[in-house]
């Protein structure tokens, strides 16, 4: 009896050693998903987590057929918190890959912690991709599976040019991403910009700005207001009776499923540029949208789609490289992007930013009366960003 107990204890001890032994790094993969899960932007973080989890589920519960552990961390919408979560995950929990960061300012705060770690940790991000990490500051271990920050705005600039818009009015919050957005639009919009207005970050009353906008008599309005600002802006635009007079254009960030339910019918007819839509027709996407709805009882947003694609990319890279222990082999496998994106054609540029299609959508109702981004056409086919030429990376 005593002997048996002794052996049992020994077996438990041994299995614990096996579980904590460093050898697991060769066999499994540990991923840190750092995203925004509290505060007004928590909806985006929920999409990142749910999309990633569905990706793992579709990959058979394991990425690359190996034990997969995902640690979820909340950056609380604060750069300093994001950085300390990254430090904990990289240095104490020893994750192999960090992903999930929604906001550029948070990504920039934690990127050094991840990328400068001597173990060679990968930052395969699924949303933010600021210019600082796209051009001269590109990094061999940083990948963006979403887009480069300017791209979605560039697409709508191009569409407004193609649609023959001569006089456009541009609006965004007064912060770096707002200025980048309007720079992106202006890079491809060839008409006259009759107004370029930056409003306070977090502002939700636009009555004064809309009165000034009406007085400027533009032919089209481009706006970039993420989160609650977007809800308030689109609703007030409609309430002021402007939506029938001056068509409204925006990026998907201001018109996706984390926002549309809050805007309501005021969003009908507004145009959104995007890289993915719930209406995009390919077998992978149809399966993703169907299963996401069944699992989470809501339509997925582009955030969930990017996060899902990130899981699929990591899965394909692990299968191709046989593990993440050999960093160079794994990096080559990620660069190959040997997976089927639910967005359509996808490959990496030499600065590790996607080369992909950008689409025009218009907000409409689906059969069940829910607001969706209805696909209208392709704006850019296989579009690359402008920063790639400044990146010295060779592969």
């Amino acid at each position: 009896m005593k002997r048996a107990a002794f052996f049992a204890a020994g077996a438990v001890a041994l299995s614990m050693v096996a579980l904590t032994a460093p050898s697991h790094a060769q066999q499994g993969v540990k991923i840190g998903l750092i995203t925004t899960l509290s505060g007004p932007q928590a909806g985006t973080g929920r999409e990142m987590v749910d999309g990633f989890n569905l990706g793992i589920k579709h990959a058979g519960g394991r990425l690359g057929n190996m034990p997969t552990e995902v640690l979820v961390g909340d950056d609380q919408f604060r750069p300093d918190t994001g950085k300390s979560v990254a430090e904990r995950m990289v240095q104490r929990d020893r994750v192999d890959i960090v992903t999930g960061v929604v906001f550029s300012n948070i990504l920039l705060a934690l990127s050094d912690t991840v990328l400068k770690d001597r173990r060679g940790v990968f930052l395969i991000n699924s949303n933010a991709a600021p210019s600082q990490l796209s051009g001269a500051g590109c990094d061999r271990n940083f990948f963006s599976v979403s887009w480069q920050n300017d791209n979605v705005h560039e697409a709508m600039g191009q569409h407004m040019t193609s649609a023959g818009v001569k006089r456009a009015y541009l609006m965004a919050p007064n912060y770096p991403a707002g200025k980048d957005a309007l720079t992106g639009v202006k890079r491809y919009f060839k008409g006259e910009v009759v107004g370029e207005v930056y409003t306070q970050l977090g502002q939700t009353d636009y009555a004064a700005e809309l009165a000034a906008l009406r007085a400027a008599r533009p032919e089209a309005v481009y706006f970039f207001y993420p989160g609650g600002m977007g809800i308030a802006f689109v609703r007030q635009y409609a309430q002021a009776g402007l939506v029938q007079q001056i068509p409204l254009f925006g990026p998907s960030f201001s018109l996706d499923q984390t926002i549309l339910p809050g805007i309501g019918d005021a969003a009908l007819g507004v145009y959104a540029s995007t890289y993915w839509s719930e209406k995009l027709q390919n077998p992978g996407n149809e399966k993703f949208v169907r299963d996401f709805e069944a699992e989470y009882k809501r339509i997925p947003s582009p955030y969930a789609a990017q996060s899902y694609d990130t899981a699929m990319l990591i899965d394909s890279a692990l299968k191709q490289s046989g593990g993440i222990a050999n960093k160079d082999k794994f990096r080559d496998a990620v660069r190959a992007a040997n997976f089927t994106s639910i967005r359509g054609p996808f490959k990496f540029n030499k600065n590790h930013m996607p080369i992909q299609n950008y689409y025009l959508t218009q907000i409409a109702k689906d059969q069940q009366g829910r607001l969706v981004m209805d696909l209208k056409g392709v704006i850019f086919a296989s579009h690359a960003d402008v920063y790639a030429s400044e990146c010295k990376m060779k592969w």
Binding site: G39, T204, A207, I231
Partner: protein, 295 residues
């Protein structure tokens, strides 16, 4: 600026001003009478909007939902006062700031658990969904006029309550000298609870009125709270009259501050500073605000 645009912006400024007033009235009473810094005031603004947004589809009546939402927010306010805030009255302001900041986080998390992390929808009531051309060529949403009317009505009601009723007399007395009111045999504890619940109902009313215009989400109380503090500092802490005047001034300065700089090619950052510059100027010449409560 053309005259018509100027008129339209004046209307916008007034309407934003009365929204601020609804928030500021409750906050200034709580701070002035109870000497309590309540950062969680914005939480009741949020709760009011969430309650009403949930109730409108159920009751089918905007008016009914507003009444129920105010009652609900006042009830939550009562409970909060009795459970959490009572012990804080005698503590210094730093303790109150910490505790009520904790309450902000608590209510945010609670709302997230009950309603989910993304914004919920609240429609403009059908009766007020149209537009009128007060200023020719610029159709103005009727709902914004309703907000203006509600704000002015509540202002009138508070004026009556404070200057013409026994409760108002006690509130004024409490703002001037709390110890003396207590010594005269008034149940100050009950007065505090009542004032706090009234403040919560006013914040909830501001939230309900703001819901269909702006956005009903977890962050909705944060931005307006900062401006509300500016209003009560300018108006004089504890003074409802001061809060009304200051709210209209801040509403105007904010609205024109957002429009004028771009007309002269100045940076948008000036607009963000406008009301704080105003506050600094008022504090410099009138350190206790425009209408300091007597005492």
């Amino acid at each position: 600026m053309p005259l018509l645009l100027f008129l339209e912006q004046t209307l916008n400024g007034l309407q934003f001003g009365v929204t601020l007033f609804l928030m500021a009235a409750g906050l200034t009473l709580v701070l002035g009478i109870m000497n309590m810094v309540n950062l969680a005031h914005g939480a009741f603004y949020m709760l009011g909007a969430y309650f009403a947004a949930t109730l409108v589809p159920i009751t089918g009546s905007f008016f009914m939902s507003v009444v129920l939402a105010l009652a609900g927010a006042a009830a939550v306010g009562l409970l909060t006062e009795m459970v959490a805030l009572r012990t804080l009255y005698s503590r210094d302001h730093l303790d109150q700031v910490l505790a009520t900041f904790g309450l902000i986080l608590f209510f945010r998390e609670l709302v997230k658990i009950v309603w989910g992390p993304i914004a919920i929808f609240m429609d403009v009531p059908d009766l007020f969904s149209g537009r009128v051309e007060i200023v020719p060529g610029a159709p103005y949403p009727v709902y914004r006029l309703l907000v203006l009317a509600v704000g002015v009505t509540v202002g009138g009601f508070l004026w009556w309550l404070i200057t013409r009723t026994r409760l108002g007399m006690l509130i004024r007395a409490g703002a001037s000298n709390r110890e003396m009111v207590g010594a005269l045999g008034v149940d100050i504890k009950r007065l505090y609870t009542l004032v706090f619940a009234l403040g919560c109902a006013l914040a909830a009313l501001a939230g309900v009125m703001a819901g269909p215009l702006y956005v009903v989400d977890i962050g909705m109380g944060d931005d307006i709270l900062i401006k509300t503090f500016v209003v009560i500092v300018i108006g004089g802490i504890g003074s409802v009259r001061g809060a009304f005047v200051a709210a209209i001034i801040v509403g105007m300065v904010d609205t024109f501050g957002r429009i004028l700089p771009s007309q002269f090619g100045l940076s948008a950052t000036i607009a963000e500073l406008a009301i704080y510059i105003l506050m600094a100027a008022v504090l410099f010449w009138k350190p206790r605000g425009l209408f300091p409560a007597a005492g």
